[in-house]
Symmetry: C2
Subunit: 359 residues, 2 copies
């Protein structure tokens, strides 16, 4: 039976298990492990994993796909721990919100007979631990897939990339291919710097002598804007220390943007009105995200069921080897060539889009 190992059964790991159990092929066995025995037991009781193992190497021993869903700081030690225990051809992925460091660690640590494809499901929340987990964590309130970044290592086999893309789609998310450095620069703008904003707004109000009254007047907007301040401080520290320069870059730009609004607030009404009208329209377009729905409808490969395709890839993984010998063998397969071609086109297209830079 194809086996998936989930290392780290917190919010993300447990939600992945639940979603795979609910939406994935029934033949799948999911093995889980967590340093906190309570978390692992809770995840098992919730039905997120079929079996709990007491160590990461034990959990990965039979797995075609290994998902590392630990805090960022634990990914490297986990890679070191599981490297000798991974089966040949296994696909290893992670869920960390910072990618450059992780890709580097995987390159250094993992043996050549496994494939690493980084992953980042954009589905965190201020909650943590298996208690907040849900099979629908990877979809928004309208049932549209949330973004799941797929960051292949340079020499990852296309089938390994397809496996992680398949995982993303199976749990209801929307796979987006992206390069690690690009990912970290952009995620700082939309995820990491906003944590600082949220903390800043909250502590500004909280540290004011008027907090007693401020807290009574704080409505849902203040609640939404400061919710991230409830997130795990350890996770935030992890993020900030792994992506510091990008966070500071965007923080400085945000301060400059606020200066721009300060000027508009002090001046004539018209430019401010126009800026707000445009922002309203653009934000509305973003809310509707028509492209998200399109991409969701696009199957993993034409004319196959996503679950079947995913199973085939997992089983295929038993035969996969990374390296030139295997590449050479596969080159003659016309189907493989077609997939490879598509992949290359996408990479070129992505590369082109990304060349716009972050600025």
């Amino acid at each position: 039976m194809p086996t998936i190992a989930i290392i780290g059964l917190g919010l993300i790991g447990t939600s992945l298990g639940l979603a795979l159990k609910q939406r994935g092929p029934s033949e799948l066995t999911i093995v889980g492990t967590d340093r906190e025995r309570d978390h692992a037991e809770q995840a098992r009781k919730m039905g997120a994993v079929d079996r709990v193992e007491s160590s990461a190497p034990a959990a990965v021993a039979d797995a075609e796909l290994v998902i590392i869903a630990t805090p960022i700081i634990a990914v490297r030690p986990t890679l070191l721990e599981i490297a000798p225990a991974l089966r040949h051809g296994a696909v290893v992925t992670d869920t960390a919100s910072v990618k450059s460091e992780i890709m580097k660690a995987a390159r250094e640590i993992l043996p050549p007979h496994v494939n690493f494809v980084g992953g980042h499901p954009m589905a965190g929340s201020e909650r943590s631990g298996p208690g907040g987990a849900s099979a629908t964590l990877f979809m928004d309130e309208k049932g549209r897939g949330r973004t799941y970044c797929v960051v292949p290592s340079l020499d990852a086999h296309e089938d390994a990339i397809d496996t992680v893309r398949g995982l993303a789609q199976l749990v209801g998310a929307r796979a987006v291919h992206i390069d690690a450095e690009e990912h970290d620069a952009l995620i700082a703008a939309v995820s990491h710097m906003p944590i600082v904003l949220s903390l800043g707004l909250f502590t500004l109000a909280r540290n004011s002598p008027a907090w007693g009254d401020l807290s009574k007047l704080a409505g849902p907007a203040f609640g939404d804007l400061t919710r991230l301040a409830m997130g795990s401080p350890e996770m935030a520290l992890d993020i900030f220390s792994s992506n510091r320069d990008n966070v500071i870059h965007w923080l400085d730009r945000m301060v400059a943007e606020m200066g721009r609004y300060r000027e508009m607030l002090s001046g004539e009404e018209r430019p401010l009105h126009e800026a707000m009208l445009k922002a309203q329209m653009d934000r509305q377009t973003f809310e509707e995200r028509p492209e998200a729905e399109e991409q969701q409808r696009e199957p993993l490969t034409p004319a196959t069921n996503a679950g079947e395709q995913f199973m085939a890839l997992l089983v295929g993984a038993r035969l996969m080897e990374r390296g030139r010998e295997v590449e050479a063998l596969l080159k003659d397969d016309p189907n493989e060539r077609r997939i490879r071609e598509r992949e290359r086109e996408r990479a070129e297209r992505d590369g082109h889009e990304n060349s716009n830079g972050t600025g």
Copy 2:
């Protein structure tokens, strides 16, 4: 039959009507009006009002309680329009998110035989118009009352204050007494400046050449933090022009706060970790708001039903006159004296709390 007039059937006006119909006494007649005939018709079809009048003076003619739920900019013209049509002893309130200007306008415009008590239900959202209205707008997702600021004019009769407090409680909100200047200074911190933050974060990302990729990576946190940018630009302009100095004051403090975080991000881990731990705990306490639940359980006056009490006040309003003669008559009523005493204590307590200033 006691009658309430609602002028302006947008999100707030229509939601007030729906909540009064759902939770208020069944004998209540609600008359509504809106410059946009479509809004008025929609509100009537939703059951928020019993009857639509084509003008504000016609709507208020029979009303013991008049609720002005128009945009801020329309409150003054509305007061001018209805002043001659108000019945003796009527209580007039509003729902604007800025209070000093409104209190001044009411003082100048309204005749002495009516009572003005400002109101501000903290229940707005990025939506507008009756379409987004709901009977539960004044409660949070846990069913706890959202804050409803009650801002009495200096010479408002206690029964008028009780009427508006009763309105707040009937629709499920939590009445909080506050002075107009204090309100405007504090609301700038928790409601108005956050609009600028939200706009700033959105336009910063949107105007970046990398927006194509940024928008794919933007998750629920970015969505929450930028939702206010979808709000009505006209309403925001209204707010900014009525409360500009306070908004700029808090914007400057927010920029300073972000500078503080920038320093922490660049320095040792420990101070940042401690700051985030404290913020997490404080934000969690704020989320639970135990005092909100307590206050919600406290009845309008002991041993009476809130709905009955509200009706009695509305009926009583027919006899109410503002001014010393009436005050003198009422002074001998022991029950009235008790209520007045409670009110004074509360005012002193509030005054004491508020004397901490805005920080």
